[in-house]
Every structure is written in C-alpha cells, then in structure tokens.
Amino acid sequence: MENRSENVFEVCDLRTYFRTDDGLVKAVDGVSFTVKRGETLGIVGESGSGKSVTCLSAMRLVPKPPAFHPTGAVYFGDTNLLSLTEPEIQKLRGERLAMIFQDPLTSLNPYLTVARQLTEVLEVHQDARPAAARRTSIEMLERVGIPDAASRIDQHPHQFSGGMRQRVMIAMALLCGPELLFADEPTTALDVTIQAQILELIKNLQKAIGTAVVLVTHDLGVVAGLTDRVAVMYAGRIVEEGTTAEVFANPQHPYTRGLLESMPRIDTPIQKSLYAIPGLPPDLGNLPAGCPFHPRCAFATIQCQNIYPETKVISSTHQATCWEIEGTK
C-alpha cells in the first residue's frame, strides 16, 4: 500500500446498504480506491452501479437510516470521515471537501440570490466579513467565466442558463479552495458545446488550484479527456481500475470492453450495427450469485455463476476483477 500522506483520499472496503421494503439493497458493496493529491479519478458506471452513492457516502450525504455502512472507512488525510460527528463533517464539507451535482437547478436554492449562496460558504467557513465575502465571490464567478459577474451575482438561479448555473455551482464548490472535489455527472444535463466549455473549465481550474477530483460519469468520452485514472463500477463494486491510458488501451473486464465497444463513436467508420451488451442492468435487490455480470457475459463459466471473482493484477497500476482474464500473478 502506498504512503497515506501521498493520498488525499482513501476509501477502504466501503459498503453502503439500504434497508428497503423489498429487502436489503447493496448499493455499494466493498469499494476501495485512493486519490492522490491533485489527481483526477473517474468513476464510470451505469445507473444503479453505485457510483453516486459512493461519493455521497464519502461526503456523508446518504441519509441514515435507511442506509448503513456494515464495513468501511473513508480516509481524508488521517481522518476517517465515517466516524466524524455531524458538526465535524460539516466543518470539512464545503471547505476542504466539495461537491458538484448533476442538476444545478435542483441543487441551488431557488429562493436565494447567487450572492447569498456564495457568500454563505465564506462566512461560515472562513469567518469572512460580508464585504470581503462578496468581493471573493465575484472574483470566483469571473474565474468560472460568468460575464458581468458583479451584477449577475444579485440574480436568482432561475435567471441563469443551464451552463451558467453549472458554473455557479463550480464557483461555489471551489470558493474555499478544497483539497478534494466530487463532480457527480457535472455535464450530463448540458448540451455538448456547453459540456466542452465546462470540462475545459474544470480542467483549467484544477490545474490552477491543485484540487483532486473524483469525476463520476457514465460517459467514457468525458473520462478519456479529463482523468488520470479510472474505476469502472458494476453492481456496487469496482470491476476494473487503472490509469486511464491503460484501461482504454487494454481493457480487461468484459463489462469494460462491452461498454467501450457499444459506445457509438464519431471517429470510426459508420457501423451498420453497434455492439450491444445483451441483457439488462442488474437489480441490486436481487443480484445473481457469483459475478453479478455473468448473466450478460459471453465468457461466463460455472465458476462465474457461483463464486465472486478474484482481482487480478494486470500491471502495477491496472487491475480487474474477473475469473476469465489472465493476471500477472
């Protein structure tokens, strides 16, 4: 294991289960990963793969009950976030840990002006005086590319377009210069030309501020352009993890390969028929035995139907969890 001081963030065997009327739902089931200082990690998966719940659990934003964590620790520096009291985590959240959500319209307060929502962060965390907080907020809005920030700061969220609202969210998240930023599908609700703008912005700000980013997305294209490392999730677990270059050049897990192949691409010849992963995404309340991907996997054997696969090491920076691939040991 690497030196913990090098890692800003370390998730160890995190499990988030939900008690529901239909039984126990294992949304996150034994996830471990690390994020180094200034690094960008992509977490890819489809809806229900547990990628958002992983981030929300780490931020302590999952309501408990119905959720609970049977095991797991989330280290931010040397603190285990899961063992903090509510006031302690609130102190960290917004200052050293920040999050951008998918839908900026529902995550900004429609009743409050942008100024109120931004300055609050500084007043709470840094005891800033109102005038100074306002000045810093305007500067931040300018940095994220909001034209005429000094007057727009007094507007309400609905007066901004989708792309501009996402910029406001980013400004709010970065106000205190956090060490770690979770971006949960930050561009999914946006048009492609606006998506390109926002991704560019995140990339540049990250370089300038040195924040580590955990980018959650279903879009492998976004991951390819923005991340250093990538973790692929399926049914609440990470099935493949590695540097972005390795995972894209040499995908190992059949699910990762399927995802990559089934993505319609702009840079390939036109295909009459696209490769499609057969079957349906798994029902988390009723997972199959063995490897949860086996009902959709072309390589599944009896072993896959019964025993959860081992993690195989492909290189020092690349591993995958599947019975049917060759590891180096």
Partner: protein, 343 residues
C-alpha cells in the same frame, strides 16, 4: 403490411418546405399584464425524404428539432409552410372548431401511416394501463382486429420488439427504461406505419442499453421498410443509423448532407464545433485533439439575433453575417449549407 408495392423513385415520400412553428409565451416582467412574446421555435425548415430513408435531425436543446418532428407529423399545427406526405398536403388537413384547430378525418386516418416514438419511456406510457391495453389502444381506435385476434397481434408486436409476450399483463413500472422504450416502439408499430418520427429515443437510457435500442430501430426499419426521422442531440449515435443528417441551430437547418459527409467534411462552423465537442473514448486522441470550444450559448429564440442566427458565437463571423440571413445553398451534390463564409 406495408405498401411497398407502390414505390415511386422520383417522387419524394415526404416534402417539408418553409416549415415554421411559433409559440406565444408570457413576456418577462409582465406579471399582471399578460403580454405575449412570439417564440419562433422553428423558422423556415425545408427538407425532403425518400421512402425507406433515415434522416437524422441533430441539434442542441432549444434548437427546434423536436418541434420540427411534431410539426411534420401535424401533432402541432405549423404556423407556416407545407408538409407533403406521399403527395398529400397534410398541413391542410386541419379544421377550425370554435377557437381551436383540430385534425380533420383525413389527418386522423393518416395516423395509421405515421407514428411517433417518444423520448421519455417513463412519461410516455400510462402507468395505470397494462402493456396489453397500451398496445390495444391504437388497434381499438382504428378498429383493427378483435378479441383473440387482437391479443395475438399484441403478442406478435411484443415479439417484434424483442419482449416476452407473457409480459402483456404487467404495468409499465415493472419494466426497466430499455424495456419501456421497446413497449413504446411496439405501440408505434401497432398500426403498421410507413413513417416514424423517433424523438430522442435513446437519450434517457443507459449506455449499454442505447446500443440495443438503436440496433432494434435499424432492424425494424430494414425489415418493415420504414421511413425514419430520427431526432437526437448525439451526433456520434445518430450517424450510425442515418443516411443523411440535418444539423439545426435556433430553429433553422444550417447544414444537410450524408452522414458520412457531415462527419468527414463538415462545412458549417457550427457543425464543426458540434463535432469537435463530442468526446471520444480514447485518452490519447482526446489529449491531442484541437478543440474549437464555442464561446457563449445559443441565443434566445424569443429575441433571435439579426442576420445569421449563429453569428454571435461564430469564429468566422463577418460583417454581412450580422445583417443578412444566409440561405441554404448546395455546395456539392447532396450537401447544403446555410453560411455566407464557406464556399
């Protein structure tokens, strides 16, 4: 099932010319006085389709692509322009009832031949109806088949879209998004249509399911000889199913060409920017790529800019782009562009 016999090569199956749709929206600020502003959602769209062809309509949200789809099907009454469907001027098939325009019998009858697939498989199926009654509704409306025969027809429809016919007693909430979209497709196919407008049929689905639905649509099109107007915002997806692609911006088509040409030799600066904004799942390429990131956003269709609608964001903008609206012109066979600057 299909009227493939009376195929006419030289005549277009669908001809849309100068189509426009206006909405009236409350003006900003006027809270007590309800002043209405004119929103030109679609403004002078023309294209034609031959039988069996798939035309992709791409653009970003608010560009009027869905409105175009609806207006072509006469689900909305166009405020201007003609839609000729198989030599019939269907934009005239409306009658006035009091203050309102309603479909006349001819348009009602044409619903058998033209259908729509909707974007959101969660909103477009009635949660209180079983799959059987959802699929029976169009059959009942047009008095197609009865009793046992109707049930057989429904089972057959479900099999056509790759579903287990036994699921017809179940309700929409029991299915996943992909399965619901299949049910929506089955409903559109129930009356054996010739022309289908598919409005973003895959954008609400998971990545691994999108490919399944796209393949299903292409298969059905080939097997049933459907003419398909495929509306999407995703250029990467649409180019694999379309013969030709029309790119829309602010209510107008700015470029129209074969799917191959649009991707290989895009001429309009907006098409070029749109293409360069599509992320490629290849880290090496992504790092090397020279991206034209457009500044700004699409202007409001309530108050569109003068001249070329794209000039506010265009990297090639010249003096006359600010005042003069570019018309669609043919720059090579089958390739039309509305831009002053490109030759």
């Amino acid at each position: 099932m299909n009227t493939m016999g009376k195929e006419k090569i030289e005549k277009n199956f669908l001809d849309v010319s100068d189509l426009a749709v206006q909405f009236y929206v409350p003006k900003r600020g006027g809270f007590f006085r309800q002043e209405r502003a004119e929103l030109k959602a679609v403004d002078g769209v023309s294209f034609s389709m031959s039988r069996g062809e798939t035309l992709g309509l791409v653009g970003e949200s608010g560009c009027g692509k869905s409105t175009t789809g609806r207006a072509v099907l006469q689900l909305l009454r166009p405020s201007r322009g003609c839609v000729i469907f198989d030599e019939e001027p269907i934009h005239e098939f409306w009658k006035k009832k009091g203050q309102k325009w309603i479909w006349d019998q001819r348009l009602r009858d044409l619903r058998r031949r033209m259908q729509m697939i909707f974007q959101d498989p969660f909103a477009s199926l009635n949660p209180r109806m079983t799959v059987e009654s959802i699929l029976a509704e169009p059959l009942r409306n047009f008095d197609v088949t009865q009793g046992v025969e109707r049930r057989e027809k429904i089972q057959q429809l479900l099999m056509t879209v790759g579903m287990d016919p036994r699921c017809m007693r179940r309700y929409p909430h029991e299915f996943s998004g992909g399965q619901r979209q299949r049910i929506g497709i089955a409903r559109a196919l129930a009356l054996g249509p010739e022309f289908i407008v598919a409005d973003e049929p895959i954008s609400a689905l998971d990545v691994s399911i999108q490919a399944q639905i796209m393949n299903l649509l292409s298969e059905l099109r080939d097997n049933l000889g459907l003419t398909l107007l495929f509306i999407a915002h995703d250029l990467a997806a649409i180019r694999h199913v379309s013969d030709r692609i029309a790119v829309m911006y602010l209510g107008r088509i700015v470029e129209l060409a074969s799917a191959q040409t649009i991707v290989d030799r895009p001429q309009h600066p907006y098409t070029q920017a749109l293409l360069s904004a599509v992320p490629v799942p290849d880290p090496r390429q992504e790092r090397l790529r020279q991206r034209t990131v457009l500044s700004g956003e699409m202007p409001s269709p309530i108050n569109p800019p003068a001249g070329c609608p794209f000039h506010t964001r265009c990297p090639l903008c010249e003096e006359r782009c600010r005042s003069e609206l570019p018309v669609m012109r043919t720059i090579e066979t089958g390739h039309q562009v509305a831009c002053h600057v490109v030759n």
